[in-house]
């Protein structure tokens, strides 16, 4: 069972208490943007075999959205953090680099 700590209420929540929300830190492109940007924002996903930043909602708890850094090839969880940020916190990135030397991804590399 996947267990994530909700960064708001501090609860170690079982997966059954949470609702997955897909890739985090997507850059939003709206009206007036180019077709390619709009397409990528709506449909294209990183879907890495490795470290994934993603959104979760503490659906059967405090109800708030948060972010998690998790490995899709080992199911290791590196950490969770509040959603009010456009990139992962330094501590989480440091944990990932310690576990996976040489890891890089997009602009968070």
């Amino acid at each position: 069972m996947l267990i994530l700590r909700c960064p708001y209420c501090g609860v170690d929540a079982d997966e059954t208490e949470l609702a997955p929300g897909g890739e985090a830190h997507l850059k939003r492109f709206g009206p007036g943007s180019g077709d390619d940007d709009f397409h990528d924002y709506l449909f294209t996903r990183e879907n890495p075999r490795g470290v994934h930043f993603e959104r979760w909602r503490h659906a059967h708890g405090c109800g708030k959205w948060f972010h998690a850094a998790r490995a899709t090839d080992t199911l290791q969880v590196f950490g969770t953090y509040p959603a009010q940020t456009s990139e992962p916190p330094k501590e989480v990135l440091a944990l990932i680099r310690a576990a996976r030397p040489g890891w890089s991804w997009r602009e968070f590399a």
Partner: protein, 414 residues
Amino acid sequence: MKRYSAFAVAREALRYHTGWGRAWAAPTPNRRYDVVIVGAGGHGLATAYYLGKNFGITNVAILEKGWLGGGNTGRNTTIIRSNYLQDPSAAIYEKARALYENMSQDLNYNVMFSPRGVIMLAQTEHEVRGYRRTAHANALQGVATEFISPERVKEIVPIISIDGPRYPVLGGLWQARGGTARHDAVAWGYARACSDMGMHVIQQCEVTGVRSEGGKVTGVDTSKGPIDCDKLGVVVAGHSGVLAEMAGFRLPIESVALQALVSEPIKPCMDVVVMANTVHGYMSQSDKGEMVIGGGADGYNNYTQRGSFHHIEETVRALVETFPMISRLKMLRQWGGIVDMTGDRSPILSKTPLEGCFINCGWGTGGFKAIPGSGWGMAELMAKGHSPLTEAFSLDRFKEGRFIDESVAAGVAH
């Protein structure tokens, strides 16, 4: 290739089965092929087979990082049906279903296709309306389905409880020529036929990079060394994003785990496939007597072939309610596969931004049934540059807003 036949069985019986040859060769890779296919699942093998059979292209290698059919092709619940809503879906799935009817003869390999009939239960008013609509669409598409009453469902499936308290059975979408086939045999049969045409099926050969020059594909790097090719077909299901990254583009796909399980074998009790999409449970009985069960996919990205236990619980709970007699059954095995989900729940068969590189993916939770039709269309696409079967499934449909929306029609599609 020695043909399999009743006569061959008798002949071998008389000489203590010493004359059976290998079903397919285990070659070392050449330095170059006209076409390289990545992934020896059903779709990759079928693509290679029809490249040879329909277009005479046989200088082909199929590269597989694990073993033949060890991906989703050997992990699914083998449901075959073609009762989709949209016209492009009906065309490719019905082509596939029709090819399944003669596959054993065509490949000279018994794939145990069993057109036993598939019922999709309608358990809410919304589903009743949805399936009636699908039945009408199917009539126009020339796909034989009908919407049947709860009483008729009970007649076809005596072990079902149609008046459950929460989700009574209100009817069903019945496709009499849907059914199941032996999944491993489909991979093995195609592999044997490909090998017989001189193609190289190479197992334990992982593609680790895609080579290109001036925007055109020139070959791949593999765990068995570099291999050049003119055309590359990427057919790796859950790993499509990984291969796309090697080839320098991204996909509208998320990889998630989908699980299945089988019970201990029991006497024959249900001779059709039953799908209950509202409650996420699917069941059929294998020839060995095991109840073969599938459910819903996980909601988060995963490459580990391990799914979440609560989905199994959810599925089993729903099926016990629907089929009370299975409540004492013991489950024997459970496993997972990594499925490649698109937003409109339809596959992608397409050229890619890299010239000479084609992709066949996005079959998600429901591509076993499509294997022959997909291979047929993909081969045409790779040989000629276009195919009426695959046209609508191109990668640019998302940008152009031409979705082939099967998510509403099927809820979950197996």
